[in-house]
Amino acid sequence: MKKYRIGLFIPCYIDQFYPKVGVATLELLKKLGQEVCYPLKQTCCGQPLANTGAEKEAIPVYQNFVNNFSEFDYVVTPSGSCAYHVKEHFDILKQTPEVKKVRQNTYELCEFIVDVLKVDDLKIEYPHKVGIHQSCHGLRGLKLGKSSELMTESYNKVRGLLEKANGIELIKLDREDECCGFGGTFSIFEPAISAKMGKERVHDHLRNGAEIITATDMSCLMHMEGIIRRKNENIKVVHIAEILNSNRL
């Protein structure tokens, strides 16, 4: 496998609230033989501001991101949403060679493993019933899989990695790719709808016998975990990096 110099981007909410997801991502990339650096001056991709309408205020945040990551072969992050934001919405920066490089080379973790490292079997042992919540920006933005609305050929990079795991049972959901309702600051400004969507997402998993909800994005999982803990539901959330890192490599 080719060895790249990777800049690890750990999204702000993962840094602050879910450090174990960052650790799992780092360990997994190292196991895959990559040289991983974590630039210490990194903060956030700017999405929380931009999705609230404050794209202009986010420009210095974008700039900080580019300054921290332009030296690497690839930027890898355990978040489809942040990766999508960098690729899609850093278009308002002056498109210097650094900006272009960062936008082009930023990858969500699964996408990086499948498309760049070309690994499809991580030799995972994971004897659990797992439901995949397909985070919208990964699915419809980065096109990590085919969304249910489109009448094109079916594929799914995330499922592809998980279904090879030993002992895993991937459960089928009633609504395969409905939004969980997190939506960044949508969860704060439209709390009723956001929570309702989250509840139904959790119930879909419960109804179909999942023990674990996984996703490429901890933000969706944080939202659903908030509902699960409030209601004491018997189900857990686990970020995909943690599952993929529970391997025999």
Binding site: P60, Q63, N64, E149, A192
Partner: protein, 460 residues
């Protein structure tokens, strides 16, 4: 005025009803999927439709002139209305000119947009909506909650009660066949006595001057065939170049709307009947301004199938009336701010930006992207409250500096650890209404990394 979030909260208070609304529309979405799957090259068809519309929008002036010329040659009378007010007056003048007072109307979102019904009623005209769903909400003096399924927010029992009151049906009988027959008998009388029939327009064919109207109930035809005078109302964006382009859209429209291969009736109105009169009213009402705006112009491609509403997880759980605009849902949320950005500044935020609407749209309107752009514009126009603007500014600064971000994160985690639950979960914390905040870890990833990377011989 109440914001979308307030009205959504209200809608969700009756949770079983909200679940029913969500599931009903989800079934429509599933029917759409099945119908779309049955068409080979569905995605190519969407793309073709999008290209036809793009072409029309780029040459709209010429096509409108061509359409008018053909329509006049066919014997129709063509009127142009710059805005809603002019449109309403044109319709009233036609009615007055015929000394008429009884008008039937098939479904037309344009007339809703222009407020035609209340205007005519104020001027002593009886205007009866003949689409069943539209008639129901007209009885209730409500706006449609969906552009294709205007009474989707109502249960059959409520319609049974309404018809008992308005049409004298048996009390407590809510059998759909029974109620539909009653509506049919009632509307038949209205059709027979109508002097003027209004319709909307799904498509207007430039090369032939034909207006095409798609209905499932045949009510546009019933009206047009019964009344001596027929009036077709269309926005300037309804043009398609040729008859042969029509098939692209009729294959998409009903499938994407409700999963039907085609609407039961696709009526082509080309010339007045012998002894009759045919009017076509072409309305701008803000459309040409939108045409001149590169960011939002392609929202004019919309063929009003309602597919984005059925797929929208927010629409399904907040109902069409929560949007406070004649066209609700994702497409409404990008159209409404074009008309009044201050009044509708909440709508572009009534979305989780999941992107499903853009994928469903049969003419490839980038709805999600336009929602995002409207958010920027609303922020730039300083339409947020001052506190929110200030918070965003401070956050922009803090997130751009590693050290300030680290410090703020540490303080926030500390606060969450030591503050009493009553304070953390104060009503002002909307996250906490129905959700727990994440458990606070002892250290951030960055703190962990600083400690551990040195052990391993120092990463950057």
């Amino acid at each position: 005025m109440k914001q979308h979030s307030d009205k959504a909260l209200q809608f969700l208070k009756d949770e079983p009803r909200a679940d029913w609304h969500d599931q009903t529309l989800w079934i429509v979405r599933q029917k759409r999927d099945k119908a779309a799957r049955s068409v080979a090259d569905w995605e190519k068809l969407r793309h073709q439709a999008s290209q036809v519309k793009d072409h029309v929008l780029s040459n709209l002036d010429q096509y409108l002139i061509q359409f008018e010329k053909q329509a006049v040659a066919n014997g129709a009378i063509v009127h142009w209305a710059e805005d809603a007010d002019e449109f309403n007056h044109i319709i009233l003048d036609i009615i007055k000119d015929k000394s008429a007072s009884r008008v039937v109307k098939s479904k037309s979102m344009l007339t809703e947009e222009c407020g035609l019904n209340p205007f005519l009623e104020k001027n002593g005209v009886e205007i009866v909506d003949t689409d069943l769903g539209e008639r129901i909400i007209q009885f209730r003096k409500e706006a449609p909650s969906h552009i294709v399924l205007p009474a989707i927010h109502l249960k059959k029992e409520e319609i049974g009660e309404l018809f008992h009151e308005k049409l004298g049906t048996e009390e407590g009988n809510s059998d759909p066949t029974y109620l539909t027959s009653a509506a049919r008998a009632h509307l038949r009388e209205k059709f027979l006595s109508a002097e003027i029939a209004l319709t909307g327009a799904n498509f207007a064919v430039a090369e032939t001057g034909t207006v095409v109207v798609c209905t499932n109930e045949g009510n546009a035809d019933m009206g047009v065939h019964s009344a001596r005078v027929q009036v077709h109302c269309m926005g300037i964006e309804k043009i398609i170049p040729r008859t042969q382009d029509l098939g692209v859209f009729t294959r998409l429209l009903a499938r994407n709307a409700i999963g039907q291969p085609i609407t039961t009736y696709t009526s082509h109105y080309r010339k007045p009947k012998p002894g009759g009169e045919m009017h076509i009213v072409i309305v701008d009402n803000g459309r040409s301004a939108r045409l001149g705006n590169a960011t939002y112009r392609n929202s004019l491609k919309c063929i009003r199938c309602g597919g984005c509403m059925n797929t929208c997880p927010v629409f399904r759980r907040s109902g069409g009336h929560s949007y406070g605009y004649v066209i609700p849902g994702p497409i409404g949320a990008i159209l409404a701010p074009c008309t009044d950005i201050k009044k509708h500044k909440d709508l572009p935020f009534a979305s989780s930006l999941c992107g499903s609407c853009s994928n469903v749209c049969p003419v490839e309107i980038d709805i999600t992207n336009q929602l995002y752009r409207w958010r920027q514009e609303i922020s730039e126009k300083k339409l947020f409250p001052p506190l929110k603007r200030y918070v965003l500014k401070v956050a922009g600064f803090a997130f751009s500096k590693g050290s300030i971000y680290d410090f703020s994160g540490k303080m926030a985690r500390l606060a969450l650890r030591i503050l009493p639950r009553a304070i953390v979960y104060h009503r002002i914390n909307t996250w906490g209404w129905e959700r727990e905040l994440p458990a606070v870890p002892s250290e951030s990833f960055k703190e962990w990394y600083k400690k551990n990377s040195q052990k391993e011989g120092g990463q950057k």
